[in-house]
Symmetry: D2
Subunit: 342 residues, 4 copies
Amino acid sequence: MLIVMHPDATEDQIKAVLDAITALGLKPHPMPGANRTAIGITGNAGPIDPGNFDYLPGVAEAIRVTKPFKLVSRDLKHEDSVIKVGDAAIGGLDLAIIAGPCAVETRDQTMEIAELVYSCGVKFFRGGAFKPRTSPYSFQGLGLEGLKILDEVRSRFGMKIVTEVLDNESVDLVEEYADVMQIGARNMQNFSLLKRVGQARKPVMLKRGMSATLDELLLAAEYIMAEGNYNVVLCERGVRTFADHTRNTMDLSIVPAVQALSHLPIIVDPSHGTGRRDKVIPLARASVAVGANGVMVEVHTHPERALSDGPQALLPDMFRQMMAEITAIYRVIAEARPSPRE
Amino acid sequence: MLIVMHPDATEDQIKAVLDAITALGLKPHPMPGANRTAIGITGNAGPIDPGNFDYLPGVAEAIRVTKPFKLVSRDLKHEDSVIKVGDAAIGGLDLAIIAGPCAVETRDQTMEIAELVYSCGVKFFRGGAFKPRTSPYSFQGLGLEGLKILDEVRSRFGMKIVTEVLDNESVDLVEEYADVMQIGARNMQNFSLLKRVGQARKPVMLKRGMSATLDELLLAAEYIMAEGNYNVVLCERGVRTFADHTRNTMDLSIVPAVQALSHLPIIVDPSHGTGRRDKVIPLARASVAVGANGVMVEVHTHPERALSDGPQALLPDMFRQMMAEITAIYRVIAEARPSPRE
Amino acid sequence: MLIVMHPDATEDQIKAVLDAITALGLKPHPMPGANRTAIGITGNAGPIDPGNFDYLPGVAEAIRVTKPFKLVSRDLKHEDSVIKVGDAAIGGLDLAIIAGPCAVETRDQTMEIAELVYSCGVKFFRGGAFKPRTSPYSFQGLGLEGLKILDEVRSRFGMKIVTEVLDNESVDLVEEYADVMQIGARNMQNFSLLKRVGQARKPVMLKRGMSATLDELLLAAEYIMAEGNYNVVLCERGVRTFADHTRNTMDLSIVPAVQALSHLPIIVDPSHGTGRRDKVIPLARASVAVGANGVMVEVHTHPERALSDGPQALLPDMFRQMMAEITAIYRVIAEARPSPRE
Amino acid sequence: MLIVMHPDATEDQIKAVLDAITALGLKPHPMPGANRTAIGITGNAGPIDPGNFDYLPGVAEAIRVTKPFKLVSRDLKHEDSVIKVGDAAIGGLDLAIIAGPCAVETRDQTMEIAELVYSCGVKFFRGGAFKPRTSPYSFQGLGLEGLKILDEVRSRFGMKIVTEVLDNESVDLVEEYADVMQIGARNMQNFSLLKRVGQARKPVMLKRGMSATLDELLLAAEYIMAEGNYNVVLCERGVRTFADHTRNTMDLSIVPAVQALSHLPIIVDPSHGTGRRDKVIPLARASVAVGANGVMVEVHTHPERALSDGPQALLPDMFRQMMAEITAIYRVIAEARPSPRE
């Protein structure tokens, strides 16, 4: 923490701040400048709440310095984390592709799409059985029936299942059927749910909230890890801005930003990130080029019949084209970049 | 829904869209223009998913027209809703003031603050027993012990208790102790929790999410009402923008915007909305002046010892000053405005 | 400036940073902490560019401390500035009302509106002769002819004229006819124009850019003052966010934020701030309640014929209602608040 | 335009709207629905101002349909525009690389950087002689002296010069020395300057404003083209959001969005887009992968001495690495994508 005093702060006011710091068992470092005095603080184990100081007379500003996360941090673990999912993995040398419909709608629809994506070499199948919908009158998912269909996809194709968990009550059920449990953007700061999946054993994919900062995303992951589940994958899915040409604005710079601060893998979801089918392929290419560990996309064989998010689902030919293009780009990236930090 | 065709859409493409509309049991209204054709759709019961059309060849855009909410809407209920809370109310002729500490920290702290706000005529006491915190290492609230302290505040001062509920598991417990259950901004789209409090009987205060649109806020309220709990109060608490001089940016225009579309009362929380003590009074005045049904603020007798959000809590003298100023402004507003819509 | 080192920065890296600071003639203050070392810097006359340090090995972050503005700052001038405009003023004890059409369209329209607002006690008349329009095909203003109509308004009613200046070439012309020259939001960082009006003698009203931070707004004013024109009025007119229920999102918290840092007066424009007629009155009330020195609104006697921004112009009855309401609120504010800082 | 009536609009109100449409010489298309009536409008040459209708009794909303741009539109010109710059080009088959320092600081610094980027095959050299700076006390550029240094770079290396023009007064001078005139983000809606460079003959690179929508960017280009200069290159350079891990948030989805609506080429500037050196390479890769026609980056041989934006300039080795990586990715893209639309 750095305390910046007003230019006209008195000696007594400065002294009172120094005393307040000492009273908390911390060490003050006064730095008198030409116009004003700043006071550095050391000796703290974790971050200090600026609220301890900024009400004191003469204080202009209290600036945080220490980052508030631990387990997610590269300071603690230098090498990249690789999240093992059975014989597959997210992070590490391979590009993880997660594909499937937005929602599991029927057995036939799901199998048809599963067959398509499997034939393109995909190892992770996505599909929602419990759907978070903005309106209470929209299709809310098939629930257990949907999970059973996903189970059949795994049995038949060997793909790992990625599916969303919406609340504490369904964690046990979803964990039974899923290989990776997804926490949606709207639940990124549902701390109760984060703690609950932190007690589960299956890996968790945590999507960035629509207006979450980098620190908030990492702290949400910290909630999960603090409960003992270290298998966390982050996911950028677009943030909310004034821009109106896409449903959300993809913030691809968070990929290298996460990689600098954290050892956790991060993937990108250009389907929700753009909300428009014709933007998914270019943004999937960009996601791989920026260095993401994987891409998650929605695919549908009959988007006109989709019960949710039809407009953003790739058609079969588009999906094949995307796979070809991102595979070629990943090869370039993989050659260019240094081996994963170990 | 309005379908706008590309300028170079062919007659066959237009016909295919008309057929697709008819196939869904809806009625198309083609409007050929100088450059392009638009097609209106009627006959729908609720909103139509643009995904049904925008993949069709020749379609440039599919524009939503019908608003997706019902129970929250003034179209359904013209007169203003007044949420009764025992012998107090939110909405209607009185300005509701909700005041207290961010979190219940100790019995003594809570009683001291309760005494202060009660002496200023406050009818609703706020204080968190379960706290949603960005970091897992921050103080998470006293839980049941905190609820019991709030119960004592009610017994002693007769103030109604407003406190947050974080997850489905604690709804029963919180409902037992609270007069109004608060859903925090981070849980505004925790649909599972919205449904659960919709099955409760106590009124719900729903805070706007940090990047929620007006429609999303109203649809979140719709989730609660669709389960049978019609006692919903909305709360603006600032949204997230690029602006860095306050913790959030207060969007006061949502107050008249809500009042135009919905019969539900709406209050404003300038403590979280600004995050800085010295901005709370001016923004509380503005909240009343814009026409809000109430104001919720944080007050602390010893903010330097507060375990959360100390920097935004009003000191006792500031709170008294705020009460005097907003009361005077509310008198002006109440005289000027027409009687509540009935 | 505060330099924060990586936890694993070596002694040599720390020493290199200390040397680099000394080499710039500044004084380093190393503060070794439990996990990492921070280094304060003093001795600088103005802000230091973080670019001087953050490329050095071992540096995690370089944090700015010194605020980069001078002439606009309360550190330099404690008392509130009152901008004199002939026998009227912006700032000080009176609430300044600036009203009129978005654009000067015809002599008749302008006179009719002028008569209306004058009859309500307005001292400042607004109206654009040069209009910044998003599309090159929209009405661009009457130019000189418009200025002459404004001149007639001044002669006939004695109101002061506030009108926009779009480029350096027209500064002389606009200064000849205007009492206050307005710099629009899109030109807030047109530094060439800021310098040019800084050399003029007439007061300047500077509107906040659509995504300008508080610091940027104050630095734009600093550009004008640095050239010698100290008569600057700031204006909040809404910022751009994801929210879609108004054209812009009004950020009223900037009013107390400006007042804390700067001695310059600040007014609010709820017409552009909301873009919707039915939101203007509530937000005008809120603007006065938050403590603004004035309000600027658009009024039109025949908005259906307006050549620009018709949807946000108040109708005559609405304008009269607004005047009554904000006058009553201002009386409350004026009584409550301490006398202007002198 | 589509007019949506309130559910309780009367027959007379609907008739009044139909009459108002007819009175403007347009054709109304009423569509009575189950709950409310919508009215389509055709017969308009350009966009209609919603202000003509939304004040009428019974009108709930007036929705724009027609896009307001012409010359920039693919509707008018189907094939991709290639902007010729002497024997080089932006758009078309080659990836355009524009590199150089943020500002021209000294002859030696400029030549050293020019030599570096030339040796990597770069055809366009960037460097500011007139600098738009947030603070009036920051380095404002060398002016004419800087332009002469750029002239020497062109003579010596044959690279084309891209440099910013800040105001109308310096357009003639900059046009004399530049091959491409850059309009900065802060001037994107400086309509006077847009018109002035529209009358020039040299190509213009137009940077997206920090909170400009896609439509606003295209309309700014339309201003230039409407004056007769059709040689316009667009440039994405990041937008302003709540995210704080980069200086701006890059919105790469605007690249395919522009390409869908417009024939103009678009490049990306990851240096300003991220503001941090270590993010430039990943985002440059992503920019090429998303399909941009080029990349503009800042390079500095001694960033610690840079007078502006040092923290975002690539060091020589980083620049070489970036060139290798984006060239390889461009090869993949070029093979995968269909030939340019012709």
